[in-house]
């Protein structure tokens, strides 16, 4: 799916909880085959944006298209990794049970997951390095392992576009590196990956596309163009300090080691 049609097209999107606008007039186009970070302070509406794209929240206005069609028609192309903390990990289920849930959409009504679903689930678990944990009860996993399980569930969905909400939150450094590697593999396979991300230091290293969000969309585009000091200031307001000013001409990569956000 590396045609010209954008993977995600958001037009004039406004979302409000009761009367409080949380997203205001968002226009966002994401080309296929990029690994995009959605960046913004707490409460900026990052989760809300993803949930609205996925049809979990009804917008007050605006439209979302996935490869040119509404989400409801393109579900099979999309996989979703919710924030890890959004579910109860004491639920009575094994790792394998949770990963197989990723096949439920394709399975349809009344059919139970069988041998094929198990194989796919084991494959996905192997990709996230969790195959020995297949029969482990999910409450016995560490935060990083829980995140890998969620990732494996998205992998068995075998999608074109992946949405992940804070996949690095509360995971250890090894898991973070493993996840980043996996995301880059997905992009290399032509998939589009959208990740809500918190850590400004690693943006340039992890992503090739970025959207800066704080109720409004401040900037979006290739990291080298959109991830600028002025855009960051506009996104984070006064809560950001650039320890060593951004060296002009140094490309998009290095100089952000000194960005500090106070909250």
């Amino acid at each position: 799916m590396t045609n010209e049609q954008p993977a995600i097209q958001v037009t004039d999107l406004t979302v409000a909880y009761r009367d409080k606008p949380v997203l205001w007039d968002i226009d966002l186009t994401v080309p296929g085959g990029v690994l995009m970070g959605i960046i913004g302070p707490n409460g900026a509406g990052k989760t809300t944006l993803i949930k609205t794209i996925l049809g979990l929240i009804r917008p007050a206005a605006g439209q979302v298209l996935i490869y040119g069609k509404p989400y409801a028609e393109q579900r099979r192309l999309v996989a979703y990794v919710p924030q890890r903390s959004s579910v109860d990990w004491d639920f009575p289920a094994s790792v394998l049970d949770v990963v197989m849930m990723g096949r439920y959409g394709a399975l349809g009504w009344f059919r139970r997951p069988g041998k094929r679903e198990r194989e796919l689930a084991f494959e996905a678990l192997a990709r996230v390095g969790m195959q020995e944990f297949a029969h482990r009860q999910i409450s016995q996993l560490s935060g990083g392992q829980q995140q890998r399980v969620f990732l494996a569930r998205a992998l068995v969905q075998d999608a074109q576009v992946y949405f992940m909400d804070e996949p690095f939150q509360g995971v250890d450094a090894t898991t973070e590196r493993a996840i980043v590697g996996l995301l880059q593999d997905l992009r290399a396979a032509g998939k589009t990956v959208v990740v809500v991300h918190h850590d400004l230091q690693t943006v340039a290293e992890y992503f090739d596309w970025v959207a800066l969000l704080n109720v409004r969309l401040v900037a979006s585009g290739p990291v080298a163009e959109a991830f600028t000091e002025s855009a960051l200031r506009a996104t984070y307001g006064g809560r950001i300090a650039f320890l060593e000013g951004r060296c002009s001409g140094a490309g998009a990569g290095e100089p952000r080691a000194g960005i500090v956000v106070s909250s």
Binding site: K51, L54, G55, L56, A72, R75, V78, Y80, P82, S86, V87, D88, F91, P92, A93, S94, D97, V98, M101, Y104, G105, L107, W109, F110, R112, P113, Q137, S139, R153, Q157
Partner: protein, 293 residues
């Protein structure tokens, strides 16, 4: 005692009815507990009371089927009110549930008192729906309970994986295109079925324990959803039968409350003693650790 069970027709009917009620409320209650909707079960059971009295006022008969239909309606309307309050006001769901429980139950008590002052005799015994009166169970009541309870279990089995994913991760369920609203309505309706099956035996006041306690006990013994739900049904049924037997031997004690005592004891023991999850085990483990240190 077991001989009585086979010989005594009334006892057999009561025990069978209590077992049915235990299975249905155990299985369906397990999903309510996993979805953190224990309080919804409580509010809906209390909300059934005005439905029962109004059904009597409208039909003029104490026919259990008519009263059950009235109860089901009231449960349902109560649940809808809760949802509407949460959607349209700033009240959180626990407040909405408390409000609906108190309003409906209060209205039910007022209606009940009013009806009981009627000069006719037909209304006598309506108050049994407060705390239940298993001794009044007839064979056809048990057949009615089975006729609505077993299809409810079958429906749950058919939509098993959808209900499981709805309970674990509703956002993900929505994202893969499941009609989450409809499934929610389905599970709420099944909850109403479990409640109306229990009203005659256990009563509106104590019914919520029949929904919560078997599941709480079952969760302690297993980490697998299917096993937990099955165990919850078995625990409910066992409490039902034991309660019925106890009440038949110690004559003056009422069946419904005895069933509740049994299932509560089972839940209590499970919370304390179940391997791994039990309080005592955690305590022993910590004790041993500190000794080793």
């Amino acid at each position: 005692m077991l001989n009585d069970l086979f010989a005594d027709y009334t006892l057999r009917t009561v025990a069978l009815g209590s077992a049915l009620l235990g299975i249905v409320s155990g299985v369906i209650g397990a999903f309510a507990v996993l979805r953190r909707q224990s309080l919804l079960g409580d509010a809906m059971s209390h909300a059934a009371l005005p439905g029962i009295v109004l059904a009597f006022v409208v039909t003029g008969s104490r026919e259990p089927v008519a009263l059950m239909i009235g109860a089901a309606f009231a449960c349902w309307i109560g649940a809808m009110f809760v949802a509407a309050i949460v959607r349209t006001t700033r009240l959180k769901s626990d407040s909405a549930l408390g409000l609906i429980l108190a309003t409906f139950f209060g209205a039910g008590l007022v209606l009940l008192t009013w009806v009981q002052q009627w000069p006719t005799a037909a209304q006598a015994g309506l108050d049994r729906y407060l705390f239940g009166q298993a001794a009044t169970l007839l064979e056809r009541d048990v057949i009615t309970m089975a006729a609505i309870g077993l299809p409810a279990l079958l429906i749950l089995a058919l939509f098993w994986k959808e209900c499981a994913i709805l309970a674990f991760d509703p956002d993900f369920a929505t994202s893969i295109g499941l009609p989450v609203r409809l499934l929610d309505v389905l599970l709420t309706s099944l909850l109403a079925v479990a409640i109306i099956i229990g009203l005659q035996t256990v009563g509106a006041v104590l019914m919520s324990a029949m929904l919560v306690a078997p599941a709480a006990a079952a969760r302690q013994w297993t980490d697998r959803l299917g096993v937990m739900v099955a165990l919850s049904g078995i625990f409910g049924a066992a409490a039902g039968v034991i309660g019925a037997l106890l009440s038949s031997t110690a004559t003056r004690l009422p069946t419904g409350p005895l069933i509740i005592v049994c299932i509560s004891a089972l839940a209590f023991v499970s919370l304390l003693l179940a391997p791994r999850r039990g309080v005592v085990w955690a305590w022993l483990r910590n004790g041993r650790l500190s000794v080793m240190r």
